[in-house]
Structures are given as C-alpha cells and as structure tokens.
Amino acid sequence: MSNLEKNKAIIFSAIDEFNMSQELDGRLEKTEQTILFSRAGYTGKGVLDSLTLVYFLVTVEEFLQKIYGENFNLKTQNLIETKEKNLKDISSLVQYVENLLN
C-alpha cells in the first residue's frame, strides 16, 4: 500500500469516529471527492462548519498519531488558514498529510 493509500485509510477511520458525533445530515462520506465545507463561488456543498471542521481535524490528528506517534502534529491552525487549498476535499487533505510526512 502506498503512503497516500495508507493515509487515506487512516482518514477514513477518523471519519467513522467523527460521524458518531454527528447527526445524519452532518456526516462525512468516505470518498476522496467528499467536499468538506461550502465555499463561495464553488459548486458542491460541504457539511462542516467552522466548529465541526475543528472537531474533524482533531480526530484526524489523533488517528494519525496512533500510527505515526504522539508527536505527529497536523498543524491544525495552519491547515485551517490554508483551507481553500488543503481542505477542499478529502483527497487534498490526504495530500497535505503526505506533504507533512515528507
């Protein structure tokens, strides 16, 4: 399994955990194309708001720490500040994690 595939699987596990805290219409789908939040000027609707986005990213970080150790840091604040680029959808998040690890 490539690193990208491995990280995608970790993020999908985090989605399962995150979805348990969400009502049906606030849950994320486990696909690479899943849009995380709605953006002005773009088609497609994401389910996360600013608060649930934080909850999701903290969950993702926890799952990554289980694999890469407690010191793994998702740099959440930086990620949120660059969300237009790195949090467009699940695949951009997977790529972000890949870049962090390299």
């Binding site: 955990e17 348990m20 805290s21 969400q22 009502e23 649930t52 909850y55 949120i80």
Partner: protein
C-alpha cells in the same frame, strides 16, 4: 422532546451525540448562546427560551462561572465561605430557571486533576483543590436536591471513563471545547438514560431463569449440592455476586420472578437449602418452574401480578429462550445476556431500564406488597362469595387532598397507571401544580390497607366543576388493589363532593387506550348511566358505598 443545552463552552458536540442516542425519541436540541450562562438563567425572554423546552441541561466549568473559584485556582487569597456563597447564588439561579422546564439536569463540577494546582496539598481541607471542589459540589447538591425536578449528573464519571486525554487543550484553543469527544460520548449516554427515566416508566419485574443464570450447572442433573455457586471458585463467586446485584436491584423496588424449565420441587429445594444462595424464596414474587413454553409462563406471571408485559425484563443465558420471548412477547425487554457468567453482574448493573427519577415508599416495598397480595389471593380461595371475603379482611381507605407529602406519589400514579385508568392523561409536575392551584379542580389521593397489610397510596381521583356537573377528569387505581371495592369507594367520594357543591350530575368521560378496558368494564357495572364513552350519575339517586369498606378523610 426538546432540550436546551446551557454551557460556558462549545457544547455542539454533545448535541450530536445526544440526538444519535435518542433517535427513537426524536430529540430536538437548542444550544443557548455561548458563554452567557448567567444571562440565560436569569432572562426568560431570551430567544433560546422562546420555544417550549421540555428539559434543560447546564454544564459549566467552575472557574468560568464562579469568580471566587477562579481566584482560588490562581492561588489568590480567598475564603472558602466566599466561594460557597457564590455556589449557593449560582444554584438559586438554576432553581429560578427550572420553572421554565419539566426537568432540569445539572452537571456537577470537575477540574483537571492531572494539573498540579497545589501539588501534594491538593486534598488539604479548605485549601486543596480536591477538598474545595468536593465542598462546592456538596453545596450545589444541598441546595438543588430540595427540588424534585432538578437532577444532578456526575460529570466525573464521564471524564474518568474517557481516560488520560479527557481534557483537550488543543480543542479548547481551537474551538472553546474543553473536552475530548469521548467525554461527550460518555455524557450523552448518561444524559440519554436520565431523559429516558423521566420520559418512560421504569421496568418493575425481572423474570429470570435458574440453571446457568442464577447458578452454574443444571440442578436437575447435578443436584443442589453440586451447583456452582459461591465457595472458592471464580465462577461460583461470579454467580453469587450476580445474585447480590439482583438483590440490590430488588431493594430499589424492582420485583423478581422465575421462569425455569425444571422440576419445581428440585429447583425450590435448591433455592431453600443451598447455603450460598443470596436470594431467598421470599425474594421471588411468582414462579413458573415447569416444562412449558416460557412465553406462556411469562404471560401468566404478568397476569398474576397485574403487570403489563412492557414492565418486564427477561434474563436467560439461553439465546434460544431469549429469541422465543423476543418473538412471542415483543413488549418484554430481553437484553442480550453475556455468555460469560463473570460478566453477569457488570452487565446487570449497567442496565438503565430500572432507573427512576424518584422513589416512593410503595416502590421500595414492592416485593413485600406483592407477597401480601399473594396471601390475599390464597385466602380468597377459601371463600366462595367474594363479598363475604371482602367483608372479612377489614378494608380501610384513607382519602386526602393532594398535598406536599403525597404529591410525588400522585404524580407517579398519574403517569404510570394504565389499566384502571379512565382517561390516561399524563401530567408534568408543573401541570399538576397548575391543576392544584385552580379552585375549580380537586384531586384526591386514596391509601388502602387491610388485614394483610398496607398497600399505600394506590388511587387518585381528579374532578372539575363545570356548571352544574362535576366532571371526573382522572380516575385511576393501581392494579394491586383492583377488585376490593376501593373503586366504588372512590366514586362515592366524587358523588358526595358533587352533592356538597350543589351539582346535579357526575360525568366520567372514558378515553380508550390499548390497556384501560378494565376501567371501562368497571364503569359499565358501576351503576352510572352509559352513554357511549360517557358515564353519568344523577345526583338525585343514592349511591350506596360498600359498607364494609371503612372510609376515613384526612385533612
């Protein structure tokens, strides 16, 4: 069902978990404005109170709602009395706001004890954080426990069960959420259980199997002396502990019956004579120990005890028997019993179906009350004429108006009686207070006793005067005392009251439910004129109260 969540932190996570826990109840949540706890408690005109909330939950961090405690955490000089005074003031705000809902849940306070606030002095009286927070929670509890609609929840449990990462500085700085989502998951389970206890009637009867459930082994095969129960044996200890746990649930007012495929004489002998039995024969209010279908046996037990099937929990180690009951009697709650006896006790004590928000004398003595009823039935067999038998048992009925002492029991009866119930109207505490305060309404509570013992407060009549008629809005009697002419005695009270008020008739409007046919049958034979679902008594007629029932009015 609506609940308002009040907090000084982002509590959105709890909302999601809670809704998922209570899907069947279609829970709606409203989140009060963030970090405006005092304003929300004080100001009923805020938007969050606009929609009717059935319940409210408040969960706060003590250092954010109590200025004095915040100073204490910062090691600034402050007297404990000042902090406790603030706690009392905060509690009084909750009491005030509790008028706006049917039930108010208050999470007690915690602090992150992994932080070294005062080091080794953390437990020092009036100085250490552990001591101070304990006294704060004790004070909060002392003030709030006087109010029956306020319930304190133990947030320590949610946090300790979440483990090391329960407090999350990262979530706090990023989202003003102090706890890891696992804390909210734990909290939602606990809160959901409390909401269910308020909303539904707790289970009253456990029907239990014997072999490999109450003890290890098959008594018919190995004999009582070789059962695995107690002694220096891990499994024996587990079965004995399970019996102790059952006994503790009995002491909460749940009753116990047996449904077992065995020879009755062999099984009863084991119960009576095995030296390690914690449960005694007198702890079982009924049993069916035979080779019949357990569904038939459970149905018969429910009839014998006058309990609805939905009051019953069935515990059996055999998955076949469990499936049979689930299929044949879907109203009976059949949890999936663990396969390992070492997990029985833990499993039983984790069930939340016995939770009740209040307990009355009648609840706590239910086993004894059923035993008395059994004696009555046995005695009845000796009389061919039921009237003769009733005359012989010296029935005494006490009648009193709704008052502070009987309020909780009346409320409980109104909300759980199904069979002998004219209208099955259910009331919240505030509904009942409103009715009590309306001068056109009267509510009477009836307590019953006879030679066999005291059944306690078991009957309620609610009446309302409309023009020249006295309308019976509520008429209900616990199934434990049905058929002892208490029903007729209660009606006589309503008729006497109507005459006293100058009414010309008494009207009882029957509202049919799935379960209240016994009430309809009673009214049909009561002498009231039947007109569809309305029963009418003309006050110019004499209503003859059963002379052998002694009626006493308490003022």
């Amino acid at each position: 069902m609506n609940i308002l969540l009040i907090s000084d932190f982002s509590i959105n996570n709890l909302s999601g978990y809670l809704k998922n826990e209570l899907l069947d109840f279609r829970l709606q949540t409203t989140i009060a404005p963030f970090n405006q706890v005092h304003q929300v408690l004080l100001d009923s005109s805020l938007e969050c109170w606009e929609e009717k909330n059935d319940y409210a939950l408040i969960w706060t961090q003590p250092e954010r709602v109590l200025k004095g405690f915040n100073s204490f955490l910062n090691n600034e000089p402050i007297e404990l009395e000042v902090i406790l005074d603030e706690v009392e003031k905060f509690a009084s705000l909750i009491v005030n706001a509790s008028d706006r809902v049917d039930a108010f849940f208050v999470s007690n306070w915690t602090v992150d004890l992994t932080l070294n606030y005062k080091g080794i002095l953390n437990t020092k009286p009036n100085y250490g954080i552990v001591d101070v927070i304990t006294k704060m929670n004790w004070t909060l509890s002392k003030v709030l426990s006087k109010y029956s609609k306020i319930h304190i929840l133990d947030s320590n449990k949610w946090i300790s069960n979440a483990g090391k990462g329960a407090y999350s500085p990262k979530l706090w700085y990023l989202s003003k959420t102090p706890f890891h989502s696992s804390v909210f998951a734990n909290a939602s389970k606990d809160i959901a259980s409390c909401l269910k206890s308020v909303k539904t009637v707790a289970k009253k009867l456990i029907v239990i199997d014997l072999d490999n459930t109450l003890w290890g082994g098959v008594v018919g095969d190995v004999g009582a002396e070789n059962l695995v129960l107690g002694g220096h044996n891990p499994l024996g200890e587990a079965f004995k502990d399970f019996q102790s746990a059952l006994k503790s649930i009995l002491n909460r007012g749940v009753v116990l019956a047996i449904s077992s495929k065995n020879e009755e004489i062999v099984a009863i002998n084991a119960i009576e004579n095995h030296s390690e039995m914690v449960l005694q024969k007198k702890d079982f209010v009924a049993w069916r120990i035979n080779w019949d279908d357990k569904a038939k046996n459970i149905f018969e037990i429910s009839q014998e005890l006058n309990l609805g099937l939905d009051s019953i929990v069935f515990l059996d180690d055999n998955p076949f028997e469990r499936e049979r009951i689930k299929h044949a009697l879907p109203e009976v709650f059949v949890p999936d019993f663990p396969s390992d006896p070492m997990l029985y006790k833990q499993f039983l004590l984790q069930l939340d179906c016995f939770n009740s928000v209040s307990s009355t004398f009648e609840d706590l003595n239910r086993t004894e009350l059923y035993a008395l009823e059994k004696e009555r039935v046995v005695s009845k067999i000796g009389f061919s004429d039921i009237e003769e038998w009733l005359k012989s048992i010296d029935i005494k009925v006490k009648c009193e108006k709704l008052n502070e002492d009987n309020f909780q029991r009346v409320l409980q009866l109104l909300n759980k009686t199904n069979q002998m119930n004219l209208s099955t109207l259910r009331y919240s505490e505030s509904d009942l207070i409103e009715i009590k305060n309306n001068s056109l309404n009267d509510i009477f509570a009836f307590s019953v006793k006879d030679n066999f013992g005291d059944a306690g407060l078991t009957g309620v009549i609610g009446v309302k005067q409309v023009d020249n008629s006295l309308i019976i809005t509520d008429f209900l009697l616990s199934c434990r005392v049905i058929g002892r002419k208490v029903e007729e005695t209660m009606l006589s009270v309503a008729i006497d009251l109507a005459i006293e008020k100058g009414c010309t008739s008494v009207l009882a409007n029957f509202i049919q439910t799935e379960k209240n046919k016994p009430c309809f049958d009673f009214f049909c034979s009561s002498g009231f004129l039947e007109n569809g679902n309305q029963f009418i008594w003309d006050c110019t007629n004499d209503y003859v109260r059963p002379f052998y029932v002694e009626l006493e009015f308490l003022t």
